[in-house]
């Protein structure tokens, strides 16, 4: 290839790319759109196929998404955001969302949506132990919160930093309630997590889905759906355990950002997310559809029985939201420690 041809070819590629970018005007920006979480990768790819609209991936956790929206209040960059329940509730309380009732709204159970449309649930999940059984080094699969404290699990447990992700905030809040604490008294939960700290290898502030699959993290306390996906989609040696003492459900919610730059496109996208088509696609990532009847039967056959799920209790989003700053602060001080 002569230098001239090479130059011409490069220019051609460059202009083609630029043309593609220019033609690609249909975009919806969603904060917290992690491809490996709740099958957002599959859902956004499907939307691109059916509507021709691009929803790019976004690595922010719920809390970071909330922080970004608050910072950009005066010139919003995002159209919509996805959060674990309490953080989305908080975003709505802070006036970052514009009321919108997407099509299919009335099919969402009343407890899982704001009456004014400032937030609504797109799917639900439960906190579970996601266990890479092969990486346990011969230790048995833990069955209860109490089991996790045993010395055989030293260095084998991780849960996300609750100041980073809403899933983990749900976990920390829920554990506190489970052990007798409340939105005013964090001691029971923090006492438990302090004991658990002896077995924890890290408190990640990034997606560790692949680390769990590889076995770097044998026990990840996170959303059940992520574990099911590891097992059934990525064929990992993974077991999902709902702890014996009980666990917590977590609605995953969305809202329309106030002043969204692509508002009309965003509304169409949010409508579509409640269709059976989109809901079934979420279910492929093993997050339970919020629209009744949208669960594909083969997915239903892969998850734990309803009887097991009776141990999962719902948490009060309003109280959780109100306690969020204080609990996150207390967790940072007492569990992450002094920083030394």
């Amino acid at each position: 290839m002569t230098r001239k041809t090479f130059l011409a070819l490069s220019l051609l590629t460059l202009s083609a790319t630029l043309a593609a970018i220019a033609a690609e005007e249909k975009v919806v920006i969603q904060y917290d759109c992690i491809p490996n979480y709740a099958n957002w990768g599959g859902v956004t790819a499907l939307y691109k196929k059916v509507a021709g609209v691009t929803v790019p991936p976004d690595p922010k956790g719920s809390s970071v998404a909330l922080a970004a929206l608050e910072k950009e209040k005066d010139s919003p960059q995002a159209d919509t955001a996805y959060y674990s329940g309490a953080i989305g509730f908080l975003a709505a309380e802070k006036g970052l969302h514009e009321p919108y009732k997407p099509k299919g709204w009335e099919k969402i159970p009343a407890a899982l949506r704001d009456p004014e449309g400032r937030w609504w649930t797109v799917h639900t999940s439960a906190i579970a132990f996601v266990v890479n059984a092969k990486a346990l080094g011969g230790a048995p699969v833990p069955r209860s919160w109490k089991d996790l404290l045993k010395p055989v699990y030293k260095g084998k447990i991780a849960y996300d930093d609750p100041t980073w992700g809403g899933t983990s905030f749900t976990l920390v809040y829920g554990v506190n309630e489970l052990f007798g604490g409340s939105d005013k008294n964090f001691k029971p939960g923090l006492d438990y997590l302090k004991k658990l700290d002896a077995n924890v290898s890290s408190y990640p502030r990034e997606s560790v889905y692949n680390s769990v699959l590889r076995g770097e993290i044998p026990i990840w306390i996170n959303a059940d759906g992520n574990g099911y996906k590891m097992k059934w989609v990525d064929n990992g040696p993974v077991e999902v355990v709902l702890p014996a003492e009980g666990t917590f459900t977590m609605p995953l919610v969305m809202g329309l950002v106030k002043g969204a730059p692509h508002k009309e496109e965003a509304k169409k996208y949010l409508d579509w997310l409640l269709t059976r088509e989109a809901q079934a696609e979420f279910a492929k990532g093993y997050f339970l559809p919020v629209i009744p009847g949208a669960m594909p039967p083969e997915v239903a056959s892969h998850v734990l029985s309803e009887k097991e799920y009776q141990r999962a209790r719902a948490l009060d989003l309003a109280r959780m939201a109100a306690a969020s700053d204080a609990l996150k602060k207390a967790w940072t001080e007492q569990i992450r420690g002094t920083g030394r």
Partner: protein
């Protein structure tokens, strides 16, 4: 005596040519720094700054950052002297390939360096797995998440910077001085102490400054590896994203910048 032409008339051209950089710096450095200082000092009575400097997590983070960055700077400069000297003064086949290999980590982002460390020294890292295979005992499991792991990762990404900076300084050393000292009967040790080190001192100091500053600002490595031991950039991130606390984040950033500048300043004392 060579003839040196006075730089008449060139100063205006120089100023004009520097204008884009000056404008860029004003927009990308001065403005954000001013806004940062604004955030940090906006609380009455400099509350955020006093909070950061009071005993506790924030101050620990600053002290940790200073200690870790100083250790990484010293370590990388010590390790870099010999390879930099060889690259600068010796000719051998594969020299360019070696230089490329050494400078490769410069292109890695901090997060990537963190993951590399996990792959090497994580709970199922290559090193513990290999040692377990060879000795039958599990060793260094999860070392990546300790302070030692963090230090190794910092060393890893500072080394190429140190080698590159030192090499270009060593290239400029006049060989004649060394030859002259030898001709006058100085032994190797004497030549190193009386000729080599005085010549190298400024280069060593500026290399220390460069690596130290880069470590102070590094974020990605600690984001991936830090479990308990914290550094200032990590605390800034948590304050901003986890707690929306602009004031403390700003004060921390300001202190980080000031302490970095102070150390750099100290290192350049006596340098012309």
């Amino acid at each position: 005596m060579t003839d040196r032409r006075p730089p008449t008339g060139s100063s205006l051209t120089g100023a004009l040519l520097s204008l884009p950089l000056v404008l860029f710096l004003a927009a990308a450095v001065a403005w954000p720094l001013a806004s940062l200082a604004g955030h940090a000092l906006s609380d009455p009575g400099w509350r955020a700054v006093r909070q950061v400097l009071a005993a506790g997590r924030y101050r620990t983070a600053l002290v940790n950052s200073l200690g870790l960055s100083a250790a990484a700077a010293l370590g990388s400069v010590l390790l870099a002297v010999a390879p930099a000297w060889v690259l600068a003064r010796e000719r051998f086949p594969g020299r360019n390939a070696l230089r490329t290999a050494i400078s490769l980590p410069l292109t890695f982002s901090g997060v990537l360096v963190g993951f590399l460390m996990v792959v090497l020294l994580g709970r199922i890292g290559a090193i513990p797995e290999a040692l377990a295979y060879l000795t039958g005992r599990r060793m260094f499991e999860g070392a990546a998440y300790t302070v030692a792991g963090l230090f190794l990762a910092y060393l890893y990404f500072e080394l190429p910077r140190a080698v590159m900076t030192l090499e270009s300084a060593f290239r400029r050393f006049p060989r004649e001085l060394d030859s002259a000292a030898r001709a006058l009967g100085a032994g190797p040790l004497q030549r190193l102490l009386k000729v080599g080190l005085p010549l190298a001192a400024p280069a060593l100091r500026s290399t220390l400054a460069v690596t130290f500053s880069a470590s102070m600002g590094s974020f990605g490595v600690a984001l991936i590896l830090s479990r308990r031991f914290t550094v200032a950039p990590l605390e800034i991130y948590t304050e901003m994203t986890g707690f929306l606390n602009d004031e403390v984040a700003g004060a921390l950033a300001l202190m980080l910048a000031l302490s970095t500048l102070a150390v750099d300043r100290l290192l350049s004392v006596g340098k012309r």
